[in-house]
């Protein structure tokens, strides 16, 4: 019936040490207004000086999405009044952005992939923050963030569902972190997006009227905000109404979008080239130098993982989500030869522990070497997969490496056939009824016997060996 059309504008904070037009620090979390110098405050007479690092990062991004990097781009002033915009204008790029048309390939749930167009990406400065609480009817202004470099990445209206939008946002997030141009920290606002959303009857060529959803700062919210907005628009049209072009704000607490300003109220920003800054030149030589510093990008890495390690697309995708995870994986399989088991441990238990504690993989207390060491003990039958979980948790808690933990906790698997045989005999003798039923064909009871033996040995028997012995003894 209805088709959704979505375009995203992603604002990603560039990981420069100082601001885009001043020498003040960009570090997050300082006392209000302690990281705002005369330039950030917009005092009379001060002038902006472009941070070259920000330019290099933008170029890096442009090359990574196969975009045209403009040999000449121009900073423009976007004029509007707001207390957290000190100069009364934001320095941005308008007619001539530094990065032109490019593409990003996203993976869809059905395993297929889709190419999303990137219209442009431009450099700009962030505004400060208005603090509306704690000032008794007044507004406080914190200008620490004012002048922080942003790269605004504008997509084509190529996405057709909230899920695609999320996939795009995740992929972009992964890419900027791969490139090392942004920390991508969404809580701190280093990566946020506006979504342009419209609906049209399936098969219709022209786009419906769009609304712009402002300032969404999590993957979950982007999906929920779009889903809500799509439903709102469809209801509106089906109820005989019309969508009005406007800017809407998503409220994650109430789970709704509400109108901020209509098209008629839209501001005229009176853009014009900033006469305080020279056009930005990027020479072919600079581009080539930066191209040489590009890391292996997510798509290439994924393809290599599939080909070299025989991983399926899904696993390769997950393992290459972040550069750190991919590096971790590659370190693990340098020290152990079971690729599949290594992948499963990283995607399973390790990721679970990281998520639970909100840690990044490079902060994991279990290093790649430690994990590989443990996997090797599984492979040589020193421990079972089940015991390995206990070992892993102990490693996580800082109790040492796998060998030390196996030793101190006495978790070594019993491989002595005689000892296991004795226990097997004991269990068979103690459960004559079940033996009869099993022999009569109730195969499920096999699990019961294995379980009993494992229980008796506190999990230290090799389950495969137990199985074997039971079959022998019961002449199955």
């Amino acid at each position: 019936m209805w088709e959704t059309v979505i375009g995203l504008e992603i604002h990603t904070q560039l990981a420069t040490k100082s601001k885009i037009f001043s020498g003040a620090s960009t570090a997050y979390g300082a006392e209000p207004n302690t990281q705002a110098c005369a330039v950030d405050l917009g005092l009379p007479g001060v002038l902006p000086v472009l941070n070259q690092q920000a330019v290099l990062m933008a170029v890096k991004f442009g090359l990574a999405i196969d975009a045209e990097v403009a040999p000449i781009s121009v900073f423009a002033r976007k004029n509007y009044f707001y207390p957290d915009l000190p100069k009364g204008y934001q320095i941005s790029q308008f007619e001539l952005p530094i990065v032109g048309k490019g593409t990003l390939t996203i993976e869809l749930e059905d395993g297929s992939s889709k190419v999303v167009g990137v219209t442009r990406a431009h450099l700009e400065e962030d505004a400060g923050k208005s603090l509306h609480e704690d000032f008794h009817g007044m507004t406080g202004v914190d200008l620490n963030r004012a002048g922080t470099p942003l790269l605004e990445i504008v997509s084509e209206p190529d996405m057709r569902s909230a899920k695609e939008a999320v996939a795009y946002m995740r992929k972009m997030h992964s890419l900027v972190r791969y490139l090392g141009i942004s920390d991508g920290n969404m809580q701190e606002g280093s990566f946020r997006c506006d979504a342009n959303v419209s609906v049209r009857p399936k098969g219709q060529e022209e786009f419906g009227t769009r609304t712009e959803l402002k300032n969404i700062n999590s993957f979950r919210f982007v999906e929920r905000a779009i889903d809500f907005e799509v439903e709102r628009q469809i209801d509106l049209i089906e109820g005989g109404g019309k969508v009005t072009q406007e800017t809407r704000l998503y409220d994650p607490n109430k789970h709704e979008t509400r109108s901020m300003r209509s098209k008629e109220e839209a501001m005229d920003y009176r853009y014009f080239p900033d006469p305080d800054l020279l056009p930005v030149e990027v020479t072919a030589e600079t581009k080539e130098n930066i191209r040489r510093t590009l890391p292996e990008l997510p798509d290439a890495k994924k393809a290599r993982f599939m080909e070299s390690f025989a991983l399926n697309a899904e696993d390769a995708g997950i393992l290459t989500t972040s550069r750190d995870m991919a590096d971790y994986f590659e370190q693990v399989i340098k020290a152990t030869d079971d690729i599949k088991l290594s992948a499963n441990w990283i995607m399973g238990d390790l990721s679970g522990f990281l998520n639970k504690e909100g840690k990044e993989i490079n902060e994991s207390p279990v290093t790649a070497e430690m994990l590989a060491g443990m996997i090797n003990r599984i492979k040589d039958n020193t421990i079972s997969g089940k015991i390995a979980k206990e070992v892993f948790e102990a490693m996580w808690n800082g109790e040492g490496d796998a060998d030390a933990i196996i030793k101190s906790k006495g978790l070594k698997q019993i491989t002595d056939t005689g000892a296991i045989e004795a226990i097997v005999d004991e269990i068979i003798a103690a459960n004559p009824g079940q033996v009869e039923q099993l022999k009569a064909g109730k195969d499920k009871l096999m699990g019961f016997f294995v379980g009993q033996v494992m229980k008796q040995t506190q999990g230290k028997a090799n389950p495969g060996q137990v199985n074997q012995l039971l079959k022998q003894k019961l002449e199955l």
Partner: protein
């Protein structure tokens, strides 16, 4: 002492004829007694000046003095001075004390110059008569019923009245050259990018350029040399060494090709002024210069194009004055909009508001192409005219202004007529070229200025051409009655 040039004063200081402290006290005393009538200063910084003078005397005693060490100067009140109010001639900044020095002020400080105060100016440098100043108009020392010109009217009048031997100014459309002409002093606006704009409160960023006023070309060169140079804090400043402006002052100008643009000698030019300029040209012929008639066909478009570009930039540059962080803030605002409207409404004067409105209009959606972009194209045409002219000639000469100083109030209610007083100076800013005004005679006992325009970075040649003229004339040595 006050009739001496900077070059003479520097010699006196070095020879121990007087100390910088004595010179500074003398200067401050003259300002105290004579400036009540002229109103050329907004702020007199006596204590600061005396402290600087004492430090200068030490430097002089230690033998590590620069050309300007111990010399009293005054800064146009557009250059930010750490700890001393910088008002820009506006109620908006009546309470503003910058926590930093502009690059120009730091350079004078390192040279050991003594800043005796901040000079009056048109509000935010917008004006040609100094009548838009929040601090009241400056009077022309030659006739206190007439205007001194603007926007750097205070700086020009202070030198003309021999209150101080040198001052700084800024020139966006003629704001150094026009008041220099109207007050009978020497003024130079260098090439755009020669003097750092850091800490110089912006009017129209692509046109604003700092420069100097003095009695002579030689002195103007000394001041300009001290204030020029690349500044990494100003992206539009140019990384090119500053030549020694004294080196070529006396160079022979025999064979110098002087271009006279016919557009500068057509209707609109006062006949008497024309005669004075013709006499100056005769002097140059005597010095062996060759006179060539040239044309700057697009110069007539410079005033209208300027009044698009300059207001456009100013409308944006002045947005930071919003009553939030510094400057004037209205009493008890009801809400944010009220804060903006009243703070700006009360803080800015009529001319500033007019230009903000014009600027916002020409940049607005639907008008941008017709006005702003068109004006930028005109600007390129104007630059092209000069480029072609300088293929034929070494310098361009003409009147600085179409007439001598007009009466206070005469053009105050007629902005367009006022704007036309910059008709010969504006094109130079549009092209970013260096230009000077040199005293060349009198009409009705009011000074006439001769404008000299040079190619990019040829300030040295301009100073040479002006100096040679000042060697054979004494117009620059005339002093207004009551200020001798």
């Amino acid at each position: 002492m006050h009739n001496k040039t900077i070059a003479e004063l520097a010699l006196g200081l070095r020879n121990g004829e007087f100390s910088s402290e004595e010179l500074t006290r003398h200067t401050l005393a003259r300002i105290a007694s004579l400036d009540k009538e002229l109103n050329s200063f907004i702020t007199v910084s006596s204590e600061h000046a005396l402290a600087q003078a004492k430090a200068a005397d030490e430097r002089l005693a230690n033998g590590n003095a620069d050309a300007l060490t111990g010399i009293p100067i005054a800064q146009k009140d557009i250059f930010c001075t750490n700890g001393i109010r910088t008002s820009c001639g506006s109620n908006m900044l009546d309470n503003f004390i910058a926590p930093y020095d502009s690059t120009v002020v730091s350079k004078f400080n390192s040279a050991g110059a003594v800043m005796v105060g901040k000079t009056n100016m048109d509000e935010f440098a917008m004006g040609s008569s100094n009548e838009t100043s929040f601090y009241g108009p400056v009077k022309n020392p030659w006739n206190t019923n007439t205007v001194p010109g603007g926007s750097s009217g205070g700086s020009a009048a202070a030198v003309a009245a021999r209150l101080v031997p040198g001052t700084t100014g800024t020139d966006t459309g003629g704001s150094i050259r026009q008041p220099a002409a109207l007050c009978g002093v020497t003024g130079i606006k260098p090439t755009y990018g020669r003097v750092s704009r850091y800490g110089m409160i912006a009017f129209a960023s692509s046109l604003d350029q700092g420069g100097a006023f003095a009695q002579t070309a030689e002195d103007a060169g000394l001041i300009l040399g001290a204030m020029s140079g690349f500044d990494e804090r100003d992206s539009t400043s140019i990384d090119k060494p500053v030549p020694d402006y004294q080196a070529d002052l006396n160079k022979d100008i025999k064979g110098l090709k002087i271009g006279l643009p016919k557009e500068f000698f057509s209707e609109g030019l006062d006949n008497e002024v024309a005669r004075v300029i013709e006499a100056a040209i005769e002097e140059y012929k005597k010095l062996g210069a060759e006179i060539v008639e040239i044309s700057l066909p697009n110069s007539g478009l410079s005033v209208p194009a300027y009044y698009v570009v300059a207001p456009a930039e100013c409308s944006s540059n002045l947005s930071r004055f919003d009553g939030v962080r510094f400057g004037h803030r209205c009493e008890n605002p009801d809400d944010l909009e009220d804060l903006y409207k009243r703070s700006r409404g009360e803080g800015f004067g009529a001319e500033v508001k007019r230009r903000i409105l014009v600027g916002a209009y020409v940049l607005s959606a639907g008008y941008y192409d017709a006005y702003y972009l068109k004006a930028q194209k005109v600007r390129r045409l104007i630059s092209e005219d000069f480029k072609q002219a300088f293929e034929k000639v070494d310098v361009i000469l003409g009147p600085t202004t179409p007439s001598v100083a007009f009466n206070l109030g005469e053009k105050a209610d007629d902005p367009v007529n006022m704007y036309l007083s910059d008709t010969y100076t504006i094109a130079v800013n549009m092209a970013g070229l260096p230009g000077m005004s040199v005293p060349a005679g009198f009409v009705n006992q009011l000074p006439v200025g001769l404008q000299i325009i040079g190619n990019y970075f040829e300030e040295g040649r301009l100073l040479n051409v002006a100096h040679k003229y000042q060697q054979v004339t004494d117009w620059h040595q005339r002093t207004p009655q009551g200020f001798e």
